[in-house]
Every structure is written in C-alpha cells, then in structure tokens.
Amino acid sequence: MRKTVALILLCLLTQPLVFAQKHRSLTEDQRVIHVLNRLGFGARPGDVERVKAMGLEKYIEQQLHPEKIADSAAETKVRELSVLNMTTAELYEKYPQPGQLLRQLQARGMLPEEMASDAAKNNQNTPPANPLENEKNRKVIEEYYRENGLQRPQRIIAELQASRILRAVYSERQLQEVMVDFWTNHFNIFANKGADRWLLPAYDRDTIRPNAMGKFSTLLQATAQSPAMLFYLDNFQSVSPNANQGRRGGLLQQLRPQQQQQQRQRRGINENYARELMELHTLGVDGGYTQKDVQEVARCFTGWTIFQPRGGGAAVNAMMGEAGRRNPGTFFFNARVHDDGEKTVLGHKIPSGGGLKDGLMVLDILAHHPSTAKFIATKLVRHFVSDTPPQSLVDRVAATFTKSDGDIRETLKAIFFSKEFNSTEAYRVKIKRPFELVISAIRTLGADTNGGPGTHRWIERMGEPLYGFQTPNGYSDAAESWVNTGGLLERMNFGLALANNRVQGTTVSLAKTNGAQAKVMDEYLKTLLAGDISAATREALLKQLEPSDPATKVVGLILGTPEFQRQ
C-alpha cells in the first residue's frame, strides 16, 4: 500500500514536467470540438456554439450524469421500435423462430393444414429444420404469421440496431451512448448465436444501459447474470458432474419426458464463460490466472442458468391462452446442479456450501483485482485518447479506478481532465470506427434518419455490423487491425451515397449554394471538419470541382477525405 502511494506521488511529481515539454495543449475551440468528437459522435450544426455558451467543464459534468439530461427527441425517435419495451417472454411470443414454432404446433396437432398433410405423407416425425427452404412452406408460414400477428425473429435485431443508430444520432446523452457502445463491445455478444437474438433487447436495456456509468462491479454482475451472456458463453448449460442426482424433484419433474431425457444428457461442466470472464471481461489475458483458476471459476458458476432459454414454446402457449408459469428467458440459480464443494480462485478460498454466493464472490474478487484496473484503464484510454495508450495516463486512470472502487464516472473524469487527453497529440488522431463514421456524418450534416437497415447496411459493409462480431473479444479499438483497402472504399462510397440521398431511410438536405466553388467548399469544410484540413487536401479537393458541380459532390468528397475519417 505504502509503495502504491509512493508511486502515485512520484507520478504526480514527475509527470507535469515531462508533459509540459511533450504535450502541447489544445486551444479552447479545439477542446470543444475534441470533446464533442470523443465524448460523443461529433457535432451537429450549432453544437459547438451551444457548448461554448454553456462552458466546456459544465458540459462534461452534465454528460457524466446522463440521468439529469432531458432526452425527449431521442425517445420520440425510438418510440415505434416495439421490441425495446418488450420482455424476453413477449419477444418469444411474438417473434418465434419458424422451425421451432412448427415443431411445437405439430406436438399439439396444430400444424397448418397444408403442412400437416405433407408431413403425414412423408411420414416425418418433425417438420424440416429449415422449413423456409421450401417455397410452398414459406408461403404457408408467411400466411400463418400474418394471421396470428407474429413477426419473424430477424426483425428483433434490426430494431435493436436501429435504436442504437437513432440514439447515437439524436440523444443529448452522447457520452452515455459512447459508453453503451464501449461496454457492448467489451462484453460482446453475437446476435446469431442460438437464442441470443431474443435475449439481446433485454441485455441492452437492463444490463448495459443502466450500468454504463456506474460501478464496474455492478455492471460485471449484471452481465454475469444476463441471459444473453449466459447463453452466448454457454454457462447456462454448465452443471456439476457431481451434483446430487438423487434429490431431483421440482423442475425436472415438471418437464415432459423428452425434455427430462435431454436434461440428463446435458450434464457437464462448461469452461467457456469462466475463461472469457477473466481473459476478456476483467483481468486480461496476462492478468495472472491459470488453467486451474479457469476450472475452479467454472465450478463456482455451475447452476447459473436461464429459465426456458429458448422460450419454452411461448408463442404457442400464448395463442392457446396459457400463460407461462415463469418468465421464459430469465436468469435463475439452479442449486440442484451447482457444485457445492470448496474452491480456490486466484488464491482465495471459496468455502463449501456457498451456493449462488460462490459466483458472486468470484465476481467480487475479479472486479477488485489490480489486473482488472489496469486492463479496463488501458481499454478506456485507448478508446478515448489514442491507439497507443500513454502508460503514465493508464497508470493514473487505473489508480483512480481502484481508489474509487471501480467507479466508471470517476475513471472517465480522470481521462477527460488529463493533459494527455487535452493535448494536440490526441487531437484528430483516432480513426473513426465504422459506427462512429456513419453516425458522425449523419450528425454533422444535420441529416434525418430512421436508423433502419438501409443505414446499418453501410456499417456492415465497412466491416463492423452491430451485434455481428462472432467471437467474444469484440471489435478492436486500434485502427491498424482494421484499416484496409476494402473498408476504405466503402467509407468513400458511403459518403457519396449519403450526400446524394442514396442511403435508404436517411435524408440529407444540403442548403442551396451560391458563389465561387472555393467559397462553397470552405463553408462545407467548416461545417464538416471545423476547417481542420491540410493544405494539400484542400488544394486537391478544389482541383476536383468545376463551377457546374452540385454541392452533393463537394460534400461526398469531403466525407471521403482522410481528415473526415479521423476524430
């Protein structure tokens, strides 16, 4: 402890001297632009003036407390996205997967007539796994969905993606949206893994958003108990091989014989969550854990599972007027399959008989581990300051993280008011990720969007669809791992499409321009880049323009410049 204090003191004493030489501070105007770019998704028309009038420090303070910012415009925009306010159970009811629905209908002898006769003819026990491959089936199913007020499950993620785009564009709580993006990527989940597409709306609404700026330990526990994560990293199926098999009453007996059989076969421990929890969510891969720790942590989390993870036939039950006994797709601790023996995790003893507490203790140990402070600090500094995080800043931010008991707000403050963040070395050096590029282009042009698939498709083309990264590490925040020729072309194509109103669901109205090309161009350079453009780029741009060229060409070209790719 004394050593740590001494180290911090040493840092405080030496750092300012070093940085006084190395880091040049930003001008007041640059600071405003910098904050709007990094704490948010770029300035809309008029934002710079608004922030100046309010005072930058006050703006940052306000952004750190999103709950105090009125946000009716963004909420109005997302109002029609119905999946956002539905429980997971309701999503299972209204957005069933066609194959699953058909199997359940068949089990109850309720198959649509056309399909029932086919199935009987072919002597099939179950409808085909993908009934939509067959043209005739597809029509029957479409008809059935329409008649029963059902929607296809793909719709869920399309609406969730739209909500992320709309909020990033319209929300006054810009930092909140940046942190939602950051944590969604840190605790990454892939929408196309099994049941996750039904579980993700609740993950965004109940797990990530309420905790994006609170205590890290609270956020960590929320993710650990989120059905979406339990499903994605397989923990919902992890059961102790030693669990008491004799006293299995209750739950198992409520299941039909076929399900009982499945439950019995699926007995076994699964290490996937335990490993990624330490490697990617908390300690980092070099954070000092062993394969033995992974096994012990996995034992602690046995029994952390999901009630009816695939919906338990919610759609059919609802149509029959039968309410579920409990909410499908919610977290529960199944003590019967928990390994209740003693465990040792990172040198800490977890006593036997702890039940649910075992996992909670593990999360507490991990949230407060020095490796976690370092790992989270590094990732935050990389996100907000530079692809090559300055070590001295990382150390100070990690110290704040530890001192504040993992308070995300305090940790962010340490970054935003640091010399490194406010230096010219950090100004417009981060290359925008695809999501950031699309949102900032829409914002700076004051464009209107419905956030729909026509807009999301561009984010996908640039290589980073929302909820579309398969593996748990999430998209990299360091540009060198993803800047490539194909992605760069799509960025230019996006700018052209946007300026010419060819992005479906997004509308730009460029003001009528008059006067010399140079004057028009400089106006747009001011709007889109606050005039931060190299002489070489400006000259090259000007050469492309002829008197007859429309404003769409000027804007399309500027959106594709190297300068606009950076924030």
Partner: protein, 413 residues
C-alpha cells in the same frame, strides 16, 4: 510534386501504350510478371477454420477403441467413416475430398498445431497467424513476413489478397495486401460519376501522408483500377465446378477468378467460422456435418475449377486448436490441443496421413484430456514456404524457431 507521384503518373501514361522505362507501375508489373513467369507463378491458398474444428471427427481415428469410449454420442461409426488407410477415415459428409485423396492430391497432417497450451480462441488464432506461439508482441503475420522475405520486383498489388471483410492477422504487416469481401464491390460506386469521383479521391489520397490511411488510400486505387480490367461480373467457373452458394463458396470462387485473371496472386486467404461446437455438435449428421459439407465441397469445387492450374497452387487448411477427446455434458466438445490440417494440390504427395499418431489412451493424452501434438504447425508452414513458394529466407518468416528440411513431413518434394 514528389518523385513517387511523378513516377506513378508517368508510368500510367506509358502503360497505355504498353511500354516501360525503369520503374514499372503496378499495371505493368502485372503484365511483365505474367510474361516473365509465363503464368507459372506459385500460389498458396490458406483457409482458416475459425472456432477450432474438432479434428478427431474430421479425420476420424476409427482404429482407436478409446475414441468410441470417450465419445459415446458423437463418435463417427467405423462403418460410416470414409476409409482412408484402414485406421483413419474422413467424416462421411466430406465425400467431395475422397476422389482427391484417391488420386493422391490430398495430404493430411494429423496431431499438428501450436505447441502453446493456450485454449483461448483469440490467443491461439493469434499464435497461428503470427506463427510465434507464446509471443504476443509479434506485430506482423507469417504470410506478410513471407512476402517480405521474398522481395519480388514483379510483385503486384494483388500479390496477397484476403477474401474477408477485414485484414486478417496473418497478412497484417509492412507488405501491402488487399482485403475485400467481394470483388464486384471493390470500386467507387456512384453511377455515371464514378470515374470522375474516383479521380477526385485518388488525387486527395495521393497527397496524404499521415498514419495508415495514406498508404491504404493509394493502394486502394491502384487495386481498383486493375480489377476493372479483370471484369469480375463475367466469371464462369470451368469444368462443371459448383461452389456452395454462401460466403465461403463465393470467396473461393473469386480467388479462382483472380488466379485465372493473372493478377499476380501469390498468397490468398479466406476463413470459415462456426466450428466452436460446445453443444450438440452431432455425429455423422448435425451441426459439424453440415459445416464440413460446405467446407469440403467448396474446396473440391475450387480444385475442379482451377483444373491444370492446380499444378502451381497449394491449398492449406488450419484451425487454432483441436477439441477435447472426451465429449462434454452437452454432446459437444471443449477447447483442446492438436488438430488435423489438409494440404491439397497437384504437386502434393497425397493419399497419406502424415505425422506421428500419438494415440488416445489416457496416458497418451495431452494434459490428460487432449490429442497430443507431434507436428509443430511451423514445420508445415515452413515446408510450404520453402518447397512450394520458394522462399530462400525462411528463417525470417519464423523468428525464434528453427525450420529445417529435416523436420519437414515430406508432403511436398
């Protein structure tokens, strides 16, 4: 005006009349490359199965009693495996590979992989792509280092192409490489104004000097310009080849197209995911079986399409690690250790399972649970880099490791 820009503009003009002075442009380098090498450029197509494929159910050791003991519900029955040599058999959904095996154009290296014991997908993929297991600080991938090790005056911008949305680790590094998900999208798409606008962007990026955008921008337009000539929309596979209609099939088809277009392709890469079968992986049918059908029929279609060109092409498949020998409680398998790799081509001495088989008895398993490793993947990569691609400085491709001919398995002569 800087020198590079001058040379570039000058040479583009010259290219149009088919002449060259001292510094050939990219377009000319391709033209020259094809004439000089007579179209006989050697090409490697590397395919990564991301997620760790269960090699024990791909190249099935049906001669091992323990295989059946440890996998009560997911093992491939001996009667269903496609018999290779009386001990190993291919998964039944890989029948597309059988003719290639029979004609000795497909070799298997079993119990191969990374000596590092990590069971993290990310670390293991990282190690396999950097080819420095255990060392995370390596900044470039081994295929990029290969490109650097064999400086090539005729090299083209399409010397290294990844048919992926983002540049994979294995091709990251100082040598230029192109990543794209589809050839036809690789253009400025603005209708009638496309050319005019492309010219505008080219001029802007020609002057850019800062960070990774500068080089990337210039490479982008050189590549776009060349690809226009190859006319990707017109492509028809040959010899009746039928590629699977999905992203993997399209990627392979377009790699074949680039090879035939003579753009100077030397290293091609693509990947296929979905192998992380922790739950319900299936046996002769099911999740893994469906993926293996796509995987093998795609590669077989590529082989058929390229026909005689396979004299100069080698296909290599890899996956970050194998999976546990014992099936888990969810009728799936967890992260394991050694795995099986495929090497295909007309120059390959196929019809043989290479590498020492370590066995599956409990005392033969790695850390008591996984297939043990007997062939370091760098010996496989090294053999291809040396004997197929003709690298003369293989030492620099595999830093910290001694690649010697004596360790090669001999699937290439």
């Amino acid at each position: 005006m800087n020198r590079r820009f001058f040379l570039k503009s000058g040479s583009v003009a010259l290219a149009s009349v088919g002449m060259s002075l001292s510094a050939p442009s990219f377009l000319e380098r391709i033209a020259l490359g094809n004439t000089l090498a007579g179209g006989k450029r050697k090409t490697l197509i590397a395919i990564f199965q991301r997620g760790a494929v269960d090699g024990l159910n791909v190249v099935v050791p049906f001669g091992e009693a323990n295989y059946y003991e440890l996998r009560p519900s997911i093992a491939i029955p001996k009667t269903e495996a496609l018999n290779l040599d009386g001990f190993f058999g291919l998964h039944p959904s890989m029948s597309a590979f059988k003719p290639l095996w029979d004609s000795k154009r497909l070799a298997i290296i079993h119990a191969s992989g990374s000596p590092d014991n990590t069971r993290s997908h990310f670390d293991a993929q990282d190690y396999m792509e950097s080819a420095t297991p255990g060392v995370k600080s390596t900044s470039d991938g081994w295929l990029n280092r290969y490109l650097r090790s064999k400086q090539d005056s005729e090299r083209s911008l399409f010397r290294a192409v990844s048919m992926t949305k983002t540049m994979p680790r294995v091709l990251q590094g100082r040598e230029p490489a192109v990543a794209m998900s589809n050839l036809s999208d690789f253009a400025i798409r603005a209708g009638k104004s496309s050319e005019n606008l492309q010219g505008g962007f080219e001029a802007i990026y020609a002057r850019e000097t800062k960070d990774s955008l500068a080089g990337t921008g210039r490479e982008t337009f050189e590549a776009v310009n060349y690809l226009k000539k190859a006319n990707p929309a017109q492509y028809q596979p040959e010899n009746g080849a039928q590629y699977p209609r999905n992203q993997f099939g399209t990627s392979l088809l377009q790699i074949a197209q680039l090879i035939k277009a003579g753009v100077g392709l030397e290293v091609a890469f693509t990947d296929i995911g979905g192998w992380d079968t922790h739950v319900n992986q299936g046996n002769s049918r099911g999740q893994l079986a469906n993926l293996l059908t796509q995987f093998s029929s795609g590669i077989a279609a590529l082989y058929q399409d390229l026909g005689q060109r396979m004299d100069d092409v080698v296909v290599l498949t890899m996956s970050e690690f194998g999976r546990t020998v014992r099936e888990n409680g969810n009728r799936g398998t967890d992260h394991g250790h050694a795995n099986a790799m495929f090497v295909l081509g007309n120059s390959v001495k196929g019809g043989k399972v290479y590498g020492q088989w370590p066995g599956l008895k409990s005392d033969q398993l790695y850390e008591g649970r996984d297939l043990a490793l007997t062939t370091d993947f760098r010996d496989v990569f090294g053999e291809i880099a040396t004997r197929h691609l003709g690298s003369t400085d293989v030492k620099s491709v595999f830093p910290g490791y001694t690649v010697t001919q004596s360790k090669f398995k001999g699937f290439l002569s």
